[in-house]
Structures are given as C-alpha cells and as structure tokens.
Amino acid sequence: MNDGDPFRDLETTALRVREHILRMSTDGGCFIGASLSCADLLVYLYGRVLRVSPETANDPDRDYLLLSKGHDVPALYGTLAEAGFFPVERLRNHLHPADSIYWHPNRALPGIEFHSGSLGHLLSVSMGIALDIKLRGGSNRVFVVVGDGELNEGSMWEAMLVASAKRIDNLVMIIDRNEFQANIRTEDLIPLEPLADKLQAFGFRTVSVDGHSFGDLERGLSLRAEGRPTAVIARTVRGKGLPSIEARADRWFVNFTHEEVASLMAELHGQAQARLTSETLVVR
C-alpha cells in the first residue's frame, strides 16, 4: 500500500541490509561503524541510480560502483545480496575460508567490481574505467565511494588533479563523511574542512547531501556535471541505526557476542536499547 513515501521500498531494504551487517559483527566481527554509515547510500545507488543488475553484471554498458575504503564492505555484501547478485544465505559464509566474504571486497563475489583495502587506490582505478567508457563513447557512469579518512592519502588528491585535468565527467566520487577515521575524529587528527571548498578548488562539481536521506541523495545524484567530475559529500553518522554505537570513535571494528547482536537487533528495530559489555577492538 502506498503511504505516500516514495522510498518505502528502499527503507525496507536498508533495514534488511543493516540486519545483515549486524549478523556479520560477531564470530570474528567486522567494521560495523563505516558499514552502517554508508548503508543508505549503497541501497539508494543500487535501488535508484545504478544501471546494473545481476543479469548485466558483466555488461560493458553497465554503471560501475567501486568501494574504495573497503572495510565498509558488509554494507555492500548486504546490498548486493538484497539486489539478487548472490543468495542472501551466502552471507552466512562471512569469514569462512571456503568463500570470499571477508573484511575487504574482492572480485570473487558477483557484483563486486574491484578489490580494495589499501586506501587511496580506487579513485584512480575508477578514472581508468571512466576514461575507457568515454573513449568508447559510452554513457555509463562510474561511482566510487571513498572514506573521509581516506582523504588523508596523497594519492586521492593526486588522482583528483588528474580527473579534473582529463575532464572525466562520468565519474562520481561519493565521500562517506562520517567524520571518523579509524579510532579518531577526522577534525581532531587531520582536519578536512572546509572540504567542499577543497574539492571545488580541485575542479570537482561538489554537492553536499544528507547521506541518510533518500530524498536528499536523489537531489544530489540527479545532476550531471558536463566537463567536470562530481564529488558528493554524503554527511553520515558512523554506526547509523544503532544508537548505542552511533558516532563513537571506539566502535570502528567490533566483534560482538551473540547476546549483544540479539540485543542490538532489537535496538535496530526500535524495540529496546542494547546493553553492550564486550571489549572494543582497536585494530589499526
């Protein structure tokens, strides 16, 4: 029944993706904070923007999405499974050596375009893909999701110079601006602000959106920048959807107990606040 919300389907999918992420946060764990911050973004892209499906996953005319920071891959796993790229049941293989569902993306999984994990790489890889599309006269676009902490890497700014110089206007760089890098706030360590000014100065058409608002994402991603690459600053909240861990520096990588996962699942559904006792894991 249509209740007037044009994004009801995406909200349902996003909730399911968060459930998947939560299930991956135990028995070894995952980088939950960044996964939850970019979940709505990925659900929106696969639900409304990207011209790609399980049937066209190898079609040269597809749109591409590359996940550059990589450790947010549980959100991509969940989104791809919900989009039918592989069975949802396969997510149970998380961290199993017989499958390829580990802490960073890799191409063994249908729908994943390229591996990542080392920060600052996939903007330039995306530029190569985008440039080839332009050389062939294609109209498909390349989206690359990068972390705000990842913008510490010099290779990101080097690549931006080149993307601008080569007028790669079928390239959209989306910054998951959750304001954390690993275990520290970006502005407390290597401040990025004024980020939009920096990106504009590097030649990107730059928009800033609420990364958890599908309406705002629609507004930000509907424009095309002729002659210039696009940067979308998606303002997000680390750990979004689980108030117990939202915007906390210490909930970057987690390995919850099964009881905590059950408790957080109830919190995700708005039924109760979770009680967390496990030690925070600081990996980096």
Binding site: P60, R107, L123, S124, V125, G128, I133, A159, L161, A165
Partner: protein, 327 residues
C-alpha cells in the same frame, strides 16, 4: 636470413605506433616522460594519456583501463614507476594479474649522472616479488624491439627496462619469454648477463677467450621467467658462473641464479658482478662503468682475479700462466 620484427630504421616509438594502429586495445600512458614517445600524442589521440607527474594515479588508471579490456603501455622513469607506484603495481595490477605493461626509463647505470634518487637498482628485486609479473631486460634496442610485441601480447603484467642502445652483437635468436640467448659456448667460465651490460660482457668474453679460456656468454634478457635450463646447463658445463647486472647484488640476477641452483640442488662457484650495498657514483655512463668496475676490461680482470684467489675452480689454467695487470 633471420626474420626480424623490425626494419633497420625502426625505433621503439615507430614500432609502438604500428602496434597500436594494429591493436585497438593498446593505450599509451606516461607520467610526463615523453622522450621515447614524443610523436605519439597527435597520432593516438585519446589513446595517449599523459597524467603528469602522477605515477600512482597512472598505474591505478592503467588497472581500470585493463579491467575494461585495454592493454595499457605505461611509461615513467624506472625508479619512480617501480617504487613511487609500487603498491599500486602490486595491489591494482599484480593481485588481479592485469595485462598492464610497465616500461621503465633510465634504469640501472643508464641514469648516469642523475644521482641515487634516479638509480633503479632494485627494480628487479621488488617487482619479481609480485606473483605473475614478467620482467624483461633487453640487451639493446634491437632486442627491445623484438621483445615489445611479445610482451604486449602476453596476458600477464610485464615490466621492461627501456634500452635503446645500439646492439653490440647480432642476436641469432628471436625473443621469447623465459628463453635465454647463448652467444658463445665454452667450458671454463659462463657469463650470465642482464640487460645492456651485454656489450661489456662481450668485450670481457673476447679478452678472456684471447687468453685461452673457454667462455660461455649467456644473454638472459627474460629475467622472469628465467631460462632455468640455460642457468643449470651453465652451472653443470662450466667451472665458474659470473652474474653481471647493473642492479643491487641482493634480489636481482645473482639471487635468481642462486635460487635456481638451490631449487635444482646444484651448487657451483658464482662470482657476482653487481652493486654490493652501495649506489653508484653519478657520472656519464662510460665513467660510471670505469669507476664501478663494469667495463669489459674490468669484468675480465675481476674474473681473472677470482680464478687467481680460488685456484681450485680452474686448476688446469693456473693464473700465473696468464699475467694479470691489477692496476
């Protein structure tokens, strides 16, 4: 009549252009190192991409282009290509095994007077640590031109030291990956040579042969894969292996030969002629060769001296029968 891949007037640039015209998958890239490909921008249009002084971005983009089915031929100075962009080569090209072709300029001694920043003396050591990477050190321009179509046709990532020096010897054999070229036979000493130092090794061979030594001269050219059989045959059929390379002694040809021998449970005397734990004194090439002891005469002298201090290697040819001027 030897079938050659190139007419006499052919250059790297003209051959690469012809190959690009015949194969639309080829893309030429450079990090503003256009010396060898100066005329290609107007001829290749969008298939010539100069990224400026951005080696990392260039290699990342090359990986993206290769994902789309292209074969990027990537040019930069060997040090910056292999070291500044190393992690991009390893991670974006090496892990997926993409057919990106890396062409390193002024490698080894060819950086002449630039100084240590420009001395690629570990390119072989670090790149051969990447699984699946093919590595070619052509002896001269003729061999580079024969190698180019072969490496561009290979589905693997490849690194080649650019070397446009004129050939000191004619090459009897066509180029093949994993296949060395044996330029002379001999049972006393085997000179195993990487790259342009072949021209000095030829002189060393001639000097040693004139003194009565049987010298096998092996132009290895394909460093990865190495011609295992050629190395083992040299070890079994001669008394001393001499590895000659403008590379650090660790990790390069000497190490490859040592690994090859160890794998085959073969042991033999090996004299490494390489840069042992030091960068070379910057100067024009001929003076570098003299100063570092890599001229044909100095190589021959180092071989003689080695045989003199280890007389058990070649007891039949006593060094006193061949007076040695050590100055």
């Amino acid at each position: 009549m030897i079938a050659t891949a190139s007419a006499p007037a052919e250059t790297y640039e003209s051959l690469l252009l012809r190959l690009c015209q015949a194969e639309p998958r080829l893309i030429v890239m450079t990090a503003e190192n256009r010396a060898a490909i100066r005329s290609l921008p107007e001829k290749l249009g969008g298939r010539f991409i100069d990224v400026g002084i951005c080696e990392q971005t260039m290699v990342g983009m090359a990986a993206g282009l290769a994902l789309r089915g292209r074969v990027p031929v990537v040019h930069a100075l060997a040090t910056f290509l292999t070291m500044r962009a190393f992690e991009f080569i390893r991670t974006d090209v090496g892990i997926p095994g993409l057919p990106v072709k890396l062409i390193g300029g002024v490698a080894g001694f060819l950086s002449e007077a630039n100084g240590p920043t420009h001395q690629a003396l570990e390119d072989l050591a670090i790149l051969r640590s990447i699984p699946g990477m093919e590595i070619v050190f052509p002896a001269d321009e003729e061999e580079m031109l024969r190698a180019l179509p072969v490496i561009l046709a290979s589905p693997a990532p490849t690194y080649m030291r650019y070397n446009a020096r004129k050939a000191a010897v004619s090459h009897p054999a066509g180029f093949a990956l994993g296949k060395a070229e044996v330029l002379s036979e001999g049972a006393d000493v085997a000179l195993l040579v990487a790259g342009f130092l072949l021209e000095e090794a030829v002189r060393a061979r001639d000097l040693l042969q004139a003194e009565g030594l049987g010298v096998r001269l092996v132009n290895l050219r394909s460093m990865v894969p190495i011609d295992t059989e050629a190395v083992l045959q040299a070890a079994r059929e001669t008394r001393l292996l001499v590895t000659i390379e403008d590379h650090f002694q660790t990790g390069g040809l000497r190490s490859i030969v040592a690994e090859t021998l160890l794998d085959a449970r073969v042991t033999c005397p090996v004299l490494p002629i390489a840069l042992d734990k030091h960068w070379f004194r910057p100067a024009l090439l001929q003076n570098v060769l003299i100063h570092e002891g890599f001229t044909g005469a100095r190589i021959a002298e180092r071989v003689r001296r080695h045989l003199a201090v280890q007389p058990d290697i070649l007891p039949s040819i006593h060094p006193t029968a061949h007076p040695v001027a050590l100055s």
